[in-house]
Symmetry: C2
Subunit: 330 residues, 2 copies
């Protein structure tokens, strides 16, 4: 990759015509205009994330699949059916074209799996040493299908907190790939789209009040953020929260609390208490949430407090991390 | 700026709650959810651009105003009224908070001026030396108001090519700021939103076939790209193309062709020949396009050829640059 590939001239046109557009294969891109023209009907969800994960390839995924699934999941968390993604690439001079090809192919594959189209994009190239190989931004557009507003302000005391599966895999997988730890087993990222189970909850008429994917900061940060915004308290049952043995062992070795470790295919759903069992059942029909369970509940207060009942029945207070445990995991 | 500010924990929440959300002051951001929920009615335009300009502050603008105006203009080029922007920030560890504040304030000001809302965002922090101070991605959503499709495939032989004003200021302004050239006058970027004149063309019922803003690669690349996609030829009249004296002098000094130099508040419009004079008149009512004029026309072929009639009446062939003239101007 050379600076000229971002210069707006012949080299950039060749990069886009020969490498990028064919990789995404979408008729909107073939119109070669400044943006996509789309039919969208009704209320929409709009979201964005930049991805700066290091290394860009890790067990279970790469920055391409991450950039698609992460934004698809943010749309799902809005109670929306993901429809369209934009792709903004920032490439470092010297990046091998084959690496770019791999990332683009991975984006296309993840988008096809999630049922979204990559319809518009932009490519910039910066001098060697001014970026770290490749940064990807995706913005997403989805059609909101939830009948009532989904978000922290809809959470009510008494709501069940449903967790879609085991936690901590993504953060540990990235960390192990970055540092070259030789764990006995290869821990793979859980990176995946969670659209289908979320839409299933809504189609089944479950009273979903809030959804949140457990990315940076993990389950702990998600719970604290929602408790603070909603002005309510959340109690988690640590004994119910699944952590795979190899992830638990890695966390112990590294001094990490699994509650703070990032995931990319996990979410929590706040649902009316009477719908909790049915919600778990619906989620378990989908491979990505086959181990869903009730992991906690919401209480009136104190506002913003998250506590966790541990293995021995002792309650401990949960907070966001004040520092940085694991930078650049997404 | 520390890595912890991108870690998903308490430091990131403070950065967002105390610096970013107040700077943008939008109720959608105050919902603190994973995306914005928006009412959009009818066909929409969707676009994205990442901004990596160096230096991040230059005469006439900064990376913040650029990131808003650039994406607003891409929406306008789709014949759309810009409505909403997302903001993805990639910050380098060590970036002074005051620099971030300035960029955010500049984004807010530009968004207010352009009538768009900054409704959703994301912040990442990468280690010192792994980015260049600040990169910004904006994706934009607009309501298409053009009655017929706008794009290269709608261009017809005979169309007039209307240019909205003088060219070359943005590229030279950034170059001068970067290299510390002491030109006698300070050349300011033309960075501005062109929404109003574009919407005015559509409201007046002008038959607009294609619109293109003249960013990276300048007027030359825009014309070549459209000629190639449309399978038509374009003839430009160099004597009609306004270039300010100071910009022309700087180009001469640096060996640049003004046709290749970037702009951020200029566009070309392809309109039916019978509407050309009226289109120029409409554009001249708006300060940002007060010097609009007919700069060329479209011919049947040869497909993809752009030629330019120079000061002495001699025709020369125009192509995109094959290399890189001026990296990182947007």
């Amino acid at each position: 990759m050379q600076l000229a590939h971002g210069g707006g001239g012949r080299a950039m046109k060749q990069l886009i015509d020969l490498i990028i557009r064919p990789a995404f294969a979408d008729p909107e891109l073939d119109r070669c205009h400044d943006g996509a023209a789309l039919a969208v009907d009704g209320p929409v969800a709009f979201t964005t994330d930049s991805y700066v994960v290091r290394p860009i390839i890790f067990p279970g995924g790469d920055i391409g699949s991450l950039a698609v699934n992460g934004t698809v999941n943010d749309l799902a968390m809005c109670g929306a059916r993901p429809l369209y993604l934009s792709v903004g690439l920032i490439l470092e001079e010297g990046l091998p074209i084959d690496t770019l090809r791999r990332v683009l192919a991975s984006m296309h594959k993840a988008a096809s799996a999630a049922g979204v189209r990559l319809v518009t994009g932009d490519t910039k190239v910066v001098d060697h040493g001014k970026a770290d190989r490749i940064f990807v931004n995706t913005a997403g557009l989805g059609r909101i299908v939830a009948p009532t507003p989904i978000g922290p302000s809809s959470v009510r005391a008494g709501d069940a907190v449903i967790l879609s599966g085991d936690i901590g895999r993504h953060g540990i997988a990235v960390m192990a790939a970055r540092e070259g730890f030789g764990f006995e087993t290869t821990i793979e990222s859980d990176c995946a789209a969670v659209t289908n189970p979320v839409l299933a909850l809504l189609e089944e008429g479950i009273a979903v009040h809030c959804l949140r994917d457990l990315t940076r900061g993990g389950l702990a940060s998600a719970a604290v953020e929602i408790a603070e915004t909603a002005g309510l308290a959340i109690v988690l049952d640590e004994r119910a929260v699944p952590v795979r043995d190899d992830v638990a062992a890695a966390c112990e070795l590294l001094g990490f609390d699994p509650l703070h470790v990032a995931n990319e295919g996990r979410f929590i759903a706040f649902v009316a208490p009477e719908d909790a069992d049915r919600a778990v059942e619906v989620l378990r029909h989908h491979p990505v949430s086959a181990e869903a369970l009730v992991a906690g509940w919401v209480e009136h207060g104190p506002s913003g407090r998250v506590s966790c009942r541990g293995a021995l029945g002792v309650m401990r207070a949960i907070d966001m991390l004040s520092g940085e445990q694991l930078p650049r995991i997404c």
